[in-house]
């Protein structure tokens, strides 16, 4: 479990806080989504968790331990993070790349042993990338590369997994496949923290949603509680409606064109 308690972050020289009083928990066995518009503080949350950004106030705990009290390696043994962007300057074999996920457990000198190789293999099976273990990373498509990165995170064998906008460059099928994978990982008992602005997909796959707005929690709870049109219009500063998805019954957000929305308002009057 990862818990954020009253977390406040201010970037150097910034007049306002990037995160202000953010509290929530990502529990084992659940997908907890953090959503919000650009600049709402989603990625800052990940940076704070990795201690890349110091906190002004508050605390982050991983499995009950304050992150400032444990080593960076210990954090990496407990939480695997797939960051938003990653471009390899020097391509490498997929198998070698996934094996980098074992480093937090190997330290600087211990060489990989049978359990490490087994963890790498099972991570590659789980993320369905085993078939291209011998390919070079620069030959992968966008969807394959994201799955390979998740395989590396799974090789860490951490009990929590953080994904920062994992589907940004993926088409519909790859996006769905990735969300299905994430959902099944949570069912295995992993605490998944999913940072995403794909609200409609989040509503279908997450157990709970934390909606950030200008660094504060605007709403949190079950997707149907958070996906309320007046709230989302305020947060996203854009006219929209929330309907029920006819196929699966989950709440679904439809942004409107400005002209259409004025017609829509007139009709409602």
């Amino acid at each position: 479990m990862i818990s954020f308690a009253n977390v406040a972050v201010r970037y150097h020289g910034a007049p306002t806080r990037a995160l202000d009083g953010v509290s929530f928990a990502a529990r084992a066995g659940e997908v907890t989504a953090v959503a919000g518009p650009n600049g709402s503080g989603k990625s800052t949350l990940v940076r704070a968790l990795l201690r890349r950004q110091p906190m002004e106030e508050g605390a982050i705990e991983i499995e009950g331990d304050d992150i400032t009290q444990i080593s960076a390696q210990e954090i990496a043994r407990r939480v695997a993070v797939v960051s938003q962007r990653e471009d390899l300057s020097f391509p490498m074999r997929v198998g070698e790349y996934v094996a980098l996920g074992r480093y937090p457990r190997l330290g600087l000198w211990r060489s990989a042993s049978a359990p490490d190789h087994a963890a790498v293999r099972s991570a590659m099976d789980r993320a369905e990338v085993a078939e291209f273990g011998d390919r070079n990373t620069d030959t992968l498509s966008g969807g394959e590369w994201q799955r390979v990165r998740i395989a590396r995170a799974l090789a860490q064998e951490a009990r929590a997994l953080v994904l920062d906008e994992p589907t940004t460059f993926l088409d519909l099928a790859h996006e769905m496949a990735l969300f299905e994978l994430v959902h099944s990982l949570a069912q295995d008992g992993i605490a998944v923290l999913l940072v995403s602005h794909e609200l409609n997909l989040v509503a279908r796959f997450a157990s709970s949603v934390v909606l950030l707005h200008r660094g504060r929690v605007a709403a949190s709870g079950r997707p149907e509680d958070v996906m309320q049109a007046p709230l989302l219009e305020k947060v996203y500063e854009w006219p929209l409606v929330v309907s029920r998805d006819p196929a699966v019954g989950s709440p679904s957000l439809v942004p409107l064109r400005r002209r259409a929305s004025s017609n829509f308002n007139r009709q409602q009057q």
């Binding site: 150097h12 890349r52 210990e74 990496a76 960051s83 300057s89 020097f90 480093y103 860490q156």
Partner: protein, 328 residues
């Protein structure tokens, strides 16, 4: 170990063969068989003396310089995530040359002191490059491209400092400084070798120890941090070790460019990507490259010698342009 053993056998064999050829080549040609027996101390006394006292120190120095530059370049390319990084282009070697020239101008003759002065100069150059990159870039350790540019500027600055130091210097200092600018392994002797060997062994050992951190730094700051690396302190440590290696080579043989650029690419082309084997391989290939370049320097226009730094630059500039085109 998934690196095929024949890579290592090939690298070792090429290095040994080049060393034997190079030992046999000179004003007096000595066949390979006699070279090998002279190394073991048997055969004609004059031949043994030429091989052991005159040519071997030179070959050993060339190998050490090449190994140091190759390993330094590998570490810098991985940490900066940039296939164009190397100590010469980053101004590290230039800073080291300034340190060495200043020590030389103060009549320092002890090789250890000159090496320390070179390391101090290289350290200042690295520090300046990081400061410039940080001032120009965003937070953290700055943008790799900015750092490369900062390095080029610092290299130019180092040249200026050397020229100013030379402007009113006595002829002796000028000759010494010029020697540093052109690079050479010709003045090698057994007495001077332990210093550079010690510094290079130290730098190499520590780099190999921290090689896994370079693997992770090569992924980028965020992924490295996510895998448990303290990015800033780790990167700083690697820069300083790369600077130590480069400075040792500058103190012993002057400015030799582009070896650190070319060598890591050759080793990566053999399929070796993890930095521990990459750094070891770069040491072997770097040694082979500088031995070859030195062989070329003293055989192209006999009986005179070409400056070693000029030979490596002639090899390196087209390579640099090809890399630049690939990365653009």
């Amino acid at each position: 170990m998934h690196h095929r053993a024949w890579h290592w056998i090939a690298m070792g064999a090429v290095l040994a063969a080049l060393a034997v050829i190079s030992l046999g080549t000179g004003v007096i040609h000595i066949p390979a068989g006699e070279v090998v027996s002279a190394l073991q101390g048997s055969g004609d006394a004059a031949t043994v003396s030429i091989i052991r006292n005159l040519r071997l120190p030179r070959i050993v120095l060339a190998a050490l310089v090449g190994a140091g530059l190759g390993m330094s370049g590998s570490a810098l390319q991985g940490t900066l995530r940039n296939g164009l990084a190397e100590p010469y282009l980053l101004g590290v070697s230039g800073g080291a040359a300034v340190g060495a020239v200043i020590a030389f101008a103060f009549n320092a003759t002890n090789d250890g002191i000159i090496a320390l002065a070179a390391f101090a100069g290289a350290g200042v150059a690295v520090l300046l490059a990081l400061l410039v990159a940080r001032a120009a870039g965003r937070a953290g350790r700055g943008d790799p491209r900015t750092l490369l540019m900062a390095g080029v500027v610092i290299g130019a600055f180092a040249n200026a400092v050397i020229m100013i130091a030379l402007a009113n210097a006595p002829p002796n200092t000028i000759r010494g400084a010029l020697w540093w600018m052109m690079g050479s392994v010709a003045d090698s002797s057994w007495a001077a070798l332990p210093w550079i060997a010690g510094f290079i062994a130290l730098g190499a050992g520590l780099l190999i120890y921290w090689a896994r951190e370079i693997d992770l730094l090569a992924l980028g700051d965020e992924p490295a941090a996510a895998l448990g690396v303290n990015v800033e302190s780790s990167a700083r440590r690697i820069y300083l070790l790369a600077a130590l290696l480069a400075a040792s080579t500058v103190a012993a043989a002057g400015l030799i460019g582009f070896v650190g650029l070319i060598v890591p690419h050759i080793v990566r082309a053999a399929g070796i990507r993890n930095h521990r084997p990459l750094i070891v391989g770069a040491g072997l290939v770097g040694a082979a490259l500088v031995i070859s370049a030195d062989l070329a320097a003293r055989t192209i226009r006999p009986p005179g010698e070409l400056p070693l730094g000029a030979v490596t630059a002639v090899l390196g500039v087209p390579f640099f342009l090809a890399q630049l085109r690939k990365s653009a």
